[in-house]
């Protein structure tokens, strides 16, 4: 078997080593780049992104009523809060909260609270958005999976969840038309 270690001059060997390094390095870079389409193809497709925003007409929602709509395949809670609920949410001292956020920030238009209906603990959908369901000790939502209680601003008050219910990005197109996403 021929030996691989014997070459012509020293310079010849260096040049060969250099070529070896550059060739393999280029192949390595190329392979990595070529993997990107495979990885990226698993990201949300255009079909999924196309339904990334949802519009909702608020007109028919009575005071005290809560509705659930779908946004990006997730439930979103839209609550038309009563004066009582607003006050309950605004009177809380922030240092009592696990995830301190003022109600004014979570609901710039106080009568409308819009949150993603997914418990921040392990992803269950909390109860309380339909009439007759338990709303937890603070009158907001209650997650049956592991007993997290949320208040009327969707903030975590008791139980294992680490954060408040997420507020999705939304804008009021008109006074009665909201666009989520």
């Amino acid at each position: 078997m021929a030996q691989t270690s014997s070459h012509g001059g020293a310079g010849e060997g260096t040049r060969r080593d250099f070529l070896e390094l550059v060739s393999w390095a280029t192949l390595g870079v190329g392979t990595l780049v070529a993997l990107w389409p495979f990885v990226d193809s698993l990201n949300p497709s255009m079909e999924v992104l196309a339904t990334a925003s949802t519009e909702l007409d608020l007109e028919p929602i009575q005071e005290g009523q809560r509705v659930t709509i779908m946004w990006r395949g997730k439930p979103v809670f839209v609550a038309h809060r009563t004066q009582q609920e607003i006050e309950a949410a605004r009177q809380v001292r922030l240092d009592e909260l696990r995830d301190p956020e003022p109600d004014e920030e979570r609901a710039p238009r106080p009568e409308w609270l819009i949150v993603v209906g997914i418990c921040t603990h392990l992803g269950c959908v909390p109860l309380g958005n339909r009439t007759g369901e338990p709303r937890g000790e603070w009158g907001g939502w209650f997650c049956p999976c592991h007993g997290s209680h949320y208040d009327t601003a969707g903030r975590i008050r008791k139980g294992p969840a680490p954060r408040n219910l997420e507020v999705p990005p939304y804008t009021f197109q008109t006074d009665t038309l909201v666009r989520i996403g």
């Binding site: 010849e12 070529l19 070896e20 060739s23 190329g30 780049v33 196309a50």
Partner: protein, 255 residues
């Protein structure tokens, strides 16, 4: 002996070439045209695509569906999101369902598909003398001759040669349609649409524009594909060159 066998096979091959030419004469070959989207560096002409969409919208879509076309896809021909939203709102689509469980109608959204002219195949046939207008989403890829054929078909209506009779009422003679008799009436006529950019709407112009639009509709990812391809080719050329140089150096002391 070997030579005789070879000669015979060559002869057989030469003769075999004959029927091919005879067969080809049945349907007339569409003349080859040059298109801006052809070739490695070819790109779609956005202005032509938008004019072509107008022709599609005002003429073709009266009878043909395009089920892979969603309004938002039109960003690909250079329309901006607001224009698309307004355009979509001109159409109504059926949605399911309201609180009573009934289907209801609403204005289309950009994420909706372009509404088909007929609810199903039977309705389409009933309205078109028994013929089914094909869906246009992939039409350019689905026809031999591709965009040359579509253009030739749109402009290929002629008076039938003397003695030729239509197989049934309501058929038209087209030079490039296989079998010549086609159920689609001549779709284009001078000034049928009004182009906002002021281009004169000649039959030739409309045929060319709508063909380009349909080509885009058949393959909206073509530009991304060619761009990626050029980068790929350059990279692989360099890679191959490097390995060739390395291989030569490495093998120099083997031979």
């Amino acid at each position: 002996m070997v030579r005789t066998v070879l000669t015979r096979i060559a002869l057989a091959l030469a003769v075999a070439g004959l029927p091919a030419a005879v067969l080809a004469a049945e349907a007339e070959e569409p003349p080859a045209r040059s298109w801006p989207h052809e070739g490695i560096f070819g790109r779609y002409d956005r202005a032509a695509l938008q004019r072509g969409f107008l022709v599609f919208k005002e003429v073709c879509s009266g009878c043909h569906s395009a089920r892979y076309l969603r309004f938002r896809d039109l960003e690909g021909i250079g329309l901006d999101p607001d224009t698309i939203k307004a355009l979509a709102a001109e159409y109504t689509v059926q949605d399911c369902c309201d609180d009573a469980g009934e289907p209801f109608e609403r204005p289309a959204l950009p994420s909706d598909r372009f509404p088909p002219p007929y609810p199903n195949e039977q309705a389409a046939r009933a309205s078109n003398n028994g013929a089914l207008p094909p869906d246009l989403s992939l039409i350019v890829k689905a026809r031999a001759g591709h965009e040359d054929y579509i253009h030739a078909l749109l402009t290929g209506y002629e008076e039938p040669p003397a003695g030729e009779q239509p197989p049934r009422e309501g058929m038209y003679w087209n030079r490039y349609f296989p079998g010549h008799w086609i159920a689609m009436p001549p779709p284009l006529s001078e000034g049928l649409v009004e182009y906002p950019d002021g281009t004169p709407a000649t039959v030739e112009q409309m045929a060319s524009d709508v063909t380009q639009f349909l080509t885009w509709l058949s393959e909206p990812t073509m530009e991304e594909r060619k761009r990626t391809g050029i980068k790929y080719m350059l990279f692989v050329l360099v890679l191959t060159g490097l390995f060739y140089a390395y291989k030569r150096k490495l093998w120099a002391d083997i031979h």
